[in-house]
Amino acid sequence: MSTQLLLFQVLNGLGNGMIYFLLSVGLTLIFGLMRFVNFAHGAFYLAGAYVAYAIAVAFGSFWWALLAGPIAVALIALVIERQLLRHTYAMPHEAQILITFAVALLFQEIIILVFDPLAKSVPVPAALSGIVFLGPYVYPAYRLAVVGAAALVALALWIVVERTKFGAILRAGSENAEMVGLLGINLDRVFMAAFALGGALAGLAGVLAAPLRGVEPFMSTEALGIAFVVVVVGGLGTLAGALVGGIVIGLVQSIMSTLWPEGAQLMIYAAMALVLLVRPTGLFGRF
């Protein structure tokens, strides 16, 4: 493998990995706080990607999608949490899984109803459609921007979780939610906020991924599978786990796609099986 190719693949893997991180971090936050696994999380990613597509078609703008996507998905997540999922917190986790799975299925069918079942492409924003020079090598500007943007979001998220009162409540809630409630904190509100935040991040992942891989109504299933691999590799319930898991999976996929293109997707699941065998709780896992 030449240096140019290797650099290209590592950067690609980093970019995909950062998108995988954004996709999975909401899943892991919500699980840490509520022990609730949201099988509709891939549908949030799907919704974000379709917002990007709709805005690109209607206005030809990507920047508005970057703003509207996360907000729209956060609102959708809020409505679903308030109207449906809130009533399932006391239920066994099988019921929660089945209901969120049904929600994901409903999302997919609504998307097909509104748009159509065909895959579509979303143009890369004009300002980032060129290439950049990294020393003697070239690289697409948009992919580099994705890495940068996701890194900024990761940093902001880390500050929120580690340095703010809301973050302290989140961390305390994932240790012992009941105790946090007894201390007079309105857990209901915290759950709501965590859900909206997780939804917004998955929506952002969808928007960022749309110009790279296009949109199609069945992408939520694949996204959910990848998010699960990331949290199993990184460990469920930790921010660092989602970040490292996302990057590891992105790199494995990207490097394998030059060595064995047909097997690249297979190898990320093999990587998961390997981690599971060696470290059942994942690299940073607590559960």
Binding site: H87, H93, I97, F101, A102, V232, Q265
Partner: protein, 316 residues
């Protein structure tokens, strides 16, 4: 899911349904219902008997279909041998993956079943020289004979599917009435306590997973034989989802729920798909409704009606 006697009233009802089904619906549809009922039975058994929610039984269904298709089309195995080996392949795969995931509990377990089901699909795509990739595997015999009986007409395929469903169905009923069934139910109710009582719960769950993998593998093999080829959709995640939906709609409180769910899904999709292409959305709404308001599925509706009648006849 608790069965104290075997055979019981449910056995009779199911036998009657198997006789009636080809009379009230197209024979080919009835065959498909039975094949999916067999696949669904593996989900129903896992969730109902041992509390294991599997999002990935389609993996074993697909593995069975592909194993059978490879043996029949490449190596000219007899379909019965192919089916038996496909059942063994489903069991073996479930055993190996089961060893990896059986100690993970709750949501972790469910996530892993989904992830491994995805892995199966990508493995099928990666090894397309063996599996035919997105084209599937064709070239299975359209007619053959078992013990001198020709299997070529729709009715003969239906009878083959009856055997394919009945054997695992009766086995599940027998297991549930046995000490093994009691231990599985104890694990479902309280795994920690069962462990404290000295039962190696992981090993029991592994037995349940392996058995369910065998049943799903058999169903997949039957599906490939009835279609004459193994389509990639047999190993897609959608298959796992479909089996799970059927099992929840039918209800996991009784192995008969698998048949009820598969029949309901097949009939509803047959009717709705002519009216509205996005009928799956309605199934999703129905699924939410069932989980919230009828956790026992259609089967519990039947039991409720039966106990209602019993009460009325006592009073009257």
């Amino acid at each position: 899911m608790q069965v104290t006697h075997f055979p019981n009233r449910v056995t009779l009802i199911v036998l009657a349904a198997l006789v009636l089904m080809p009379l009230v619906m197209h024979t080919t549809l009835a065959t498909q219902v039975l094949i999916f009922a067999t696949g669904t039975l593996s989900v129903t058994f896992l969730l109902g008997a041992s509390g294991l929610l599997s999002f990935g039984q389609g993996l074993y269904f697909g593995a069975g279909a592909y194993a059978c298709a490879i043996l029949l089309s490449r190596y000219q195995f007899h379909p019965v041998t192919g089916m038996l080996l496909a059942t063994a392949a489903g069991a073996l795969l479930a055993l190996v993956l089961g060893i990896l995931i059986v100690r993970r509990r709750g949501v972790y377990f469910v996530m892993l079943t989904l992830a491994f089901a995805q892995m199966g699909y990508f493995a099928m795509l990666a090894f397309k020289d063996i599996t035919g990739g997105e084209n599937g595997l064709s070239g299975l015999p359209r007619s053959f004979s078992i013990l001198g009986l020709p299997i070529a007409t729709p009715v003969s395929f239906y009878l083959l599917a009856v055997c394919g469903f009945l054997v695992p169905f009766l086995l599940v009923q027998r297991i549930l009435a046995s000490p093994l069934g009691s231990v599985l139910i104890a694990i479902r109710e309280n795994e920690g306590r069962s462990e404290a009582l000295g039962y190696p719960t992981a090993r029991y769950k592994l037995v349940a997973l392996t058995f369910a993998g065998a049943v799903a593998g058999l169903a997949g093999a039957l599906h490939a034989i009835s279609l004459g080829f193994a389509p990639p959709s047999d190993i897609e995640l959608e298959m796992s989802q479909r089996l799970l939906i059927m099992s929840i709609i039918g209800g996991v409180g009784s192995p008969a729920g698998a048949l009820a769910g598969a029949a309901f899904y097949a009939i509803v999709s047959e009717i709705l798909s002519e009216i509205w292409a996005r009928w799956l959305g309605l199934i999703a709404v129905l699924l939410i409704g069932i989980v919230l308001y009828l956790p026992g599925g259609l089967c519990s509706l039947g039991q409720r009606l039966a106990s209602g009648f019993a009460r009325r006849s006592e009073h009257g």
